[in-house]
Symmetry: C2
Subunit: 388 residues, 2 copies
Amino acid sequence: MTTAAIDTAKSVGAATSNTARAWNFCAGPSVLPEEVIRQAQQDLWDVSGTGIGILEHSHRAKTYDKVLAEAVENCRKVANIPAGYQVLFLTGGATSQNFMIPANLLAQNQTADYLTTGYWAEKSAEHAKMYGTIHEAWDGRPIKHVYCPTDGEIRYSATPAYVHMCTNNTIYGTQWRASATDGSIRLPKVPSGVPLIADMSSDIYSRPINVADFGLIYAGAQKNIGVAGTTLVIIRDDLLARNPRELPGMLQYRVHAKDESRHNTPPVFAIYMCGLMFKWILKQGGLAALHKRNMEKAAVIYKAVDESGGFYRGHARPDSRSLMNITFRCPSEQIDELFVKEASKNRMDQLKGHRSTGGMRASTYNAMSLEGCEALASFMREFAKKNG
Amino acid sequence: MTTAAIDTAKSVGAATSNTARAWNFCAGPSVLPEEVIRQAQQDLWDVSGTGIGILEHSHRAKTYDKVLAEAVENCRKVANIPAGYQVLFLTGGATSQNFMIPANLLAQNQTADYLTTGYWAEKSAEHAKMYGTIHEAWDGRPIKHVYCPTDGEIRYSATPAYVHMCTNNTIYGTQWRASATDGSIRLPKVPSGVPLIADMSSDIYSRPINVADFGLIYAGAQKNIGVAGTTLVIIRDDLLARNPRELPGMLQYRVHAKDESRHNTPPVFAIYMCGLMFKWILKQGGLAALHKRNMEKAAVIYKAVDESGGFYRGHARPDSRSLMNITFRCPSEQIDELFVKEASKNRMDQLKGHRSTGGMRASTYNAMSLEGCEALASFMREFAKKNG
């Protein structure tokens, strides 16, 4: 696809704007569906004929009651969340969950197990240390986080208060997957009765999940389900009762659950955007349909890596390749730089990899289209031909 | 002004929308300037010709670098913030400051003084109790929070770690003011060398302030300077060095200062909106000009209260009347209800008072126009005539 053709394709959606949009492969905050942006533009001025925009309504008034109720209801519908789980919209990012989880669920004399599969999983383990003993049941540092472990490689402690995992490793481009071709989630077999806690910041609602497998799921919204400013927490009721230490109300899950995510003024717009995204996901056919499309999208780009005759080298071991963040390198750092620069000229943006891995990273979250992935794959082939 | 005339006046701004906007007197989240909303609508689609909307840019990329740098720079410019103070954009609302302040600044064996002038000031004092001894140097409960105290009424403890005040009491409609006709801030004379900490959530940047008088200023953005989702904190450098206990990084002012409000993914859109509001404030002529207009706006409504021959009764004592939240009652609760209902029919919205005070509350933050206040005063006169 030529640059001109891409520009034409993208400007179709721009009914009230003269600017064509770029293909945005950013790892987060990241691309949103154009129809969601259009709805938000309208609602900024006036939501539901109230004469007041979404940013200007009281968080205690009827308009927001409905926005919040629909966001929670559709969040539950998307993943078929069973009774006995609360859906919370919090603030402070997934980073704040790194301390809220042990603060709420781990007593000082207890041990929590962490599966350290990447940069953010390392951070989660580090930040938990002030609240109890942290046992790294898997440490992926020696293998440079190129894959997620099998059960045989994990060594749990005797009686962990919980097991913490990160389902998708944004920076290294790995994901807990059943196999290289099957995008379904492969969960570690945790000791019986121990709650599994998952940071799903970069793959939440990108494939089917069985919420009943988890004690707590959390995710920053800015990748697959919304924008920066809120963190989704799905928590099982029995965990709300754990009370290992005195905490301010704002740091207690049970307070936010009791007050239904309105203990104080919530991040109204970020929660509203999650609501729009949940509706959009349902409209796409739900998680099974998105999953199928996400597999197709990633396959198109991995194919360009694998068929490049070694020009592109992927970071992840094929059986742990992420469907969300595709990390690869060119034969040299200089060529990496040229790739990013040339791609940007072709309006494919934010492809520079994280400093930990170098190279490139193409993030293909829910809102990235197959068309965008095909454009990138096509560019990759042309670039390899020119620079190989 | 008739309803039809109001509708016509408001729809002028609605170039790409068919819906007329209401006069929104909400206490927060609250009305925004229409030109700010228009800019946000555009930038949702594409900011600065990047082909990527403001919600979709990485918080580490150049576009957001500029958004953040401008927001900080203009925030400093608006209040002429001197060197030696940091400007931080945090999350968790002003409510989270209630515990972050004592957690960061009060040792367990120290005392902090609180001036309890209203509902939120009460909450601030309550939430601080787990971190040290709290001394209420003024307790406004017995006088039903109808005024803010003079220096002679305040009893400080011997050596407070800080003094906490709330400059405007949103719910009771009182404000620390030099006099009934002069909107300038009257600060309590705190003991020498003791930092004064101010919750300015409902009057920040609505009148000139001398930042050098304070150790720390904080404000939820959703009233005068932006939208729900971020909290502005202006903190003096020496307070960053206080370190009374171990805290997670996300709860330490010094970590956010060192990382310049990007310790983790920040609430990008809420900070962007603050940036637009700071630009708008400068364009209005800055705080002196806004203050003049805010005094005129409030005077128009207080006049309708005072000239109603007792039909309307204000809650606040005249010398402490807020320029931001005007609280009043009709002769009976039934008439209060009718007032809110009839006003809403005339597209004057969100006038119901808080349950603590009952009656009505008209919030007249920076973005509420004089025209809106005149429309309300006119409605009040007609309503009193019909129901008096």
